[in-house]
């Protein structure tokens, strides 16, 4: 009986082992409902939520408009508010009729055109409008104030064009590049694609590797001539491709369903996403190698990958506004680099100086994660 010495084994054997592992993993992905759930169902849910559910566009904010004195002038001003696309206006004569609504959150603010407004206006005695805002939601409160201001300015300009009043001393012209309509969906949807890739790359990968440990198949694999590198690579390639597949699905939905413009190149999109999957997969591997337990792996993946990608990446919240210590933490969150780049690929186009920097940093973080994961997945157990 002779066993060929393993040192002389050819490349053919290595390639065959590798393709066998990839094939096995692909079967498992297709047959395991939780893979499908995380790779396809969850992305769809997230995309829908960010495409429809979460909107930072404060259109149609409900306010109460109190006209204490009915005159052509005040009616004209009120018409300005009613015509605004930012407000849905209920008109009343007494501010007290709206106060309860404000307390109960049925309206977000009360605009009061006071009784003395007309006389002040015509006499040039600093006419003033009062805006009472529900401060319990500061973001909305800010928008109500800003929009009220803008509506009044608009109205004044209108009157100027109609031949009365004076031009403003300084007019500020605002130009919002890349997203002139300020549609929040246009930046939320690309951002959520990064979160989807985090889920596939880190959560799903850590789960499936931990499952192999739990079910004892990892042990059986390790007792075969497969090398640790082949094992890991055979695991990663399918999930890398799966990550790109769910990304592609999301991009198609973003463009064709949500109408988000896509101004960059497909090459940039894939270059960025592919690089991002490195740290994401590396983190998944590291988590599973450290825990070897699906439950702990899922908890760790949610806390160390999903939440940071969501909260500490500039996706929803401005990194510059965070305390310094937290800003430091954001530097090691891979999504922090991907999200602005994705938003750029969609809305601005290819801005390579930005992309190359993001790619370089994500690559670096990926290398660190892989080095750590490789260290803890040697062919040893216990």
């Amino acid at each position: 009986m002779s066993t060929p010495p393993p040192s002389t084994e050819g490349r053919a054997a290595r390639i065959r082992r590798f393709t066998a592992l990839v094939r096995k993993e692909s079967y498992q992905i297709v047959r395991d409902p939780s893979s499908i759930l995380i790779a396809f169902v969850l992305p769809l849910i997230l995309l829908f939520l960010f495409g429809y559910g979460v909107s930072l566009d404060t259109t149609q904010t409900r306010i109460g408009l109190v006209i204490e004195q009915e005159t052509p002038l005040t009616r004209d001003l009120a018409a300005g508010f009613q015509a605004s696309r930012y407000f849905t206006v209920a008109v009343g004569r007494d501010r007290r009729t709206f106060e309860e609504d404000l307390v109960l959150g049925r309206i977000r603010g009360i605009v009061v055109i006071p009784a003395g407004f007309v006389s002040d206006y015509s006499a040039g005695r600093h006419p003033a409008l009062q805006v009472l805002v529900d401060g319990s939601d500061p973001n909305t409160a800010n928008f109500v104030q800003n929009y009220a201001q803008a509506t009044v300015a608009n109205w004044e300009r209108q009157r100027l064009n109609d031949g009365g009043g004076h031009p403003p001393a300084i007019s500020a012209e605002q130009r919002f590049w890349f997203n002139p309509e300020l549609t929040s969906r246009n930046f939320l949807v690309p951002g959520s694609i990064a979160i989807v890739m985090t889920l596939v790359g880190t959560l799903l990968t850590s789960l499936v590797v931990a499952r192999e440990w739990e079910r004892g198949t990892m042990e059986a694999m390790m007792a075969t001539p497969v090398s640790a590198a082949e094992l890991l690579a055979g695991k990663l390639l399918p999930y890398f491709l799966l990550g790109l597949t769910s990304m592609t699905l999301c991009v198609l939905l973003a463009v064709f369903l949500f109408g988000v413009p896509f101004r960059g190149s497909v090459a940039a999109l894939y270059a960025l996403s592919a690089t991002f999957l490195m740290p994401a997969l590396g983190q998944g591997l590291l988590i599973s190698a450290a825990t070897k337990n699906q439950f702990l792996a899922s908890q760790l993946a949610l806390i160390s990958a999903f939440l940071p990608a969501f909260l500490l990446s500039g996706f929803l919240f401005e990194i510059n506004s965070m305390p310094t210590v937290i800003q430091w933490i954001t530097f090691i969150v891979p999504a922090r680099y991907l999200i602005p780049s994705l938003q750029t690929v969609f809305l601005a186009g290819d801005i390579w100086p930005m992309f190359t920097r993001a790619i370089a940093v994500m690559f670096l973080i990926g290398c660190v994660f892989f080095a750590l994961a490789a260290r803890s997945t040697r062919k040893r157990i216990g």
């Binding site: 009986m1 066993t3 010495p5 084994e9 059986a220 390790m222 007792a223 001539p225 090398s227 216990g382």
Partner: protein
């Protein structure tokens, strides 16, 4: 190839995990080619650790392991290229079909494409899995999984085959099939390591390494080990009435090393140069005769003998009157269908007060379904079950108040301490105040938990876990005890202690229903129902079942023989 060169050399190996006592404590031994070497010992003895050391997946803390001439630390890859390894749960991918699993392992082990068709064909034939190549591994029965695991480990004829507890969760028929397959392999010169907690399996090995708590107790051939108790093992007949009390009396004798019930007889191991005491106050007087020693007899002798025959637990038990003739557990036409699959078909039996009744059968045959219906875990599709006279459907809570339940997995709350577990089970069975305190104190006293009260249950050694499970099941003095493979994997001393308690309780009128694969446990039963394909194919005392299959050339079959013959007989009848 000279037989003198061992396939595996284990040199003074120590392996520790954390601060616990060493999992392997200065173990040394050799494993030869062409024979089956048993790695024998109860759960936690260090069997799995030793196998993992041989695969090169773990490195020893001290000493060294050489496999096929390679050192496991420096040349793990060379070893892994030449061995076949089946880990405890067979290492199969449950989402992959039988064929896909085979393909995967063929690729990983570098089986040349040209040889595949023939090899697969041979292995599928060998394992009788040909009909199931398209089935997902997760959907196979335990026995089939085990065979597939073996096939995967054999894809490229290994020189050394390592099998980690291939018999766990597998019924005796599948176990015997597997054994035959492995025996054929040794004929080709392959070395086989078979780890097991079943001592009857050990007996069939060519040589054994006997481990207990990380220490090597014995290395050599099983007959060498059983030789130490030669002429000291007796079978006592004529005790069919009151065999439990008789056993207790024997066990209290200082010269008795060990004693177990074997159907209607009692098996005793005596100290050297002694004979069983004559219990002449009994009529007819028991008759003792020497019998062939078995592996377990020797093992117990080595450990210094089994426990005494007294059960403090039983002594404090208030007796249930055994005079009323009504059965305590009744099954009348119990039937359970899942879709169009009938898991249990009109199962009927009664268990009178103070008896042990066993449910036996291969995996998936319906014995757990029947068991679950009788303790109220499953609602029967038809028929009725009663415990202590209460219908399980109408008065489920009343019935449950009167039963105690102990499952094979020691289903205690691992994160709760010993005291908290006792307190919880006392509470859910409605004990409170002084009575609760009293019963818990009693359990603590009987089972010696006093110093362990604050320990988490999951950190207890297996034997203590098993005692705690029993304590929790009997806290409320149930009339009926439901035991689901209560002692599998437990060391034989703890197992004897357990049965001493159960026997004592039964004498006080407690009624016991037990399911098991474990032939030793079956021997303790007064009556057994053998369940196969959802139906009860045999009902009677262990000796009656054995007698049914006795033949001229095989006059004294074991319980396992009876089991296998009855199941096969039923299969033939069905086929005819």
């Amino acid at each position: 190839m000279s037989d003198a060169v061992p396939f595996v050399r284990i040199v003074d190996v120590v392996k520790r995990f954390g601060n616990a006592p060493p999992a392997l404590d200065h173990v040394a031994g050799e494993i030869l080619g062409g024979r089956i070497t048993g790695l024998v010992g109860p759960d936690g003895a260090g069997k799995t650790t030793l196998i993992r050391l041989m695969t090169g997946l773990m490195a020893p803390d001290e000493g060294k392991v050489e496999v096929l001439g390679f050192d496991t630390v420096t040349n793990a890859a060379d070893i892994q290229a030449a061995i076949g390894y089946m880990p405890q749960r067979f290492g199969l991918y449950e989402d992959l079909s039988v064929q896909e699993n085979l393909n995967l392992y063929a690729d990983l082990r570098g089986l040349p494409v040209a040889e595949r068709a023939a090899t697969f064909d041979e292995l599928l034939e060998f394992t009788d899995l040909k009909r199931f190549t398209e089935r997902l591994a997760g959907k196979l029965s335990g026995g089939m999984k085990q065979k597939l695991g073996l096939a995967c480990a054999l894809l490229r004829k290994p020189r050394l085959l390592l099998l980690d507890e291939p018999g766990v969760g597998v019924d005796p028929i599948s176990r015997r099939d597997l054994w035959k397959m492995v025996e054929n392999l040794t004929a080709e010169g392959i070395g086989v390591v078979w780890s097991t907690a079943y001592l009857d399996e050990a007996e069939a090995c060519d040589s054994v390494l006997l481990l207990n708590e990380g220490k090597l107790l014995f290395a050599g051939s099983p007959s060498e080990l059983t030789g130490r108790v030669a002429d000291r093992v007796f079978k006592v007949a004529g005790v069919s009435k009151g065999r439990r009390q008789t056993l207790a009396r024997y066990l209290d004798d200082d010269n008795v090393v060990d004693g177990v019930i074997q159907g209607e007889a009692i098996r005793l191991v005596m100290k050297p140069d002694t004979v069983p005491p004559t219990l002449d106050d009994r009529s007819p007087a028991p008759v003792a005769a020497t019998t062939a020693p078995r592996f377990e007899d020797a093992f117990i002798d080595m450990l210094g003998g089994g426990p005494g025959g007294r059960s403090k637990l039983a002594e404090t038990q208030t007796p249930f009157s055994t005079t009323d003739a009504k059965p305590v557990i009744e099954a009348h036409g119990l039937t359970k269908r899942f879709g169009d699959f009938t898991a249990a078909d009109a199962i009927t039996f009664d268990i009178p007060r103070g008896q042990i009744f066993g449910l036996l059968g291969p995996n998936g045959a319906g014995k757990s379904t029947t068991f679950k219906m009788l303790c109220g875990l499953l609602k029967p599709t038809a028929g009725e079950g009663r415990v202590a006279g209460f219908d399980l459907r109408r008065d489920a809570a009343e019935a449950r108040n009167r039963l105690g339940y102990m499952a094979q997995k020691f289903s205690l709350y691992g994160d709760l301490s010993v005291a908290q577990n006792l307190s919880f089970f006392a509470g859910v069975y409605g004990l409170s105040g002084a009575r609760k305190r009293e019963r818990i104190e009693l359990m603590v006293d009987i089972f010696g938990f006093a110093r362990l009260l604050d320990m988490s249950a999951k950190d207890l050694p297996l034997g203590l876990k098993q005692r705690l499970a029993l304590a929790c099941a009997v806290l409320h003095e149930p009339e009926a005890l439901f035991l689901d493979e209560p002692t599998s994997g437990v060391d034989p001393i703890t197992r004897r202690e357990f049965w001493t308690h159960i026997n004592g309780l039964v004498e006080k009128g407690v009624t016991v229903l037990v399911t098991t694969h474990f032939m030793d446990e079956a021997e303790y039963c007064d009556r057994i129902s053998l369940i196969y394909r959802g139906r009860s194919i045999a009902l009677g005392s262990p000796d009656e079942l054995k007698a049914q299959v006795a033949t001229a050339e095989h006059p004294d079959p074991t319980m396992e023989d009876a089991f296998i013959a009855l199941v096969q007989g039923s299969e033939e009848k069905e086929a005819a």
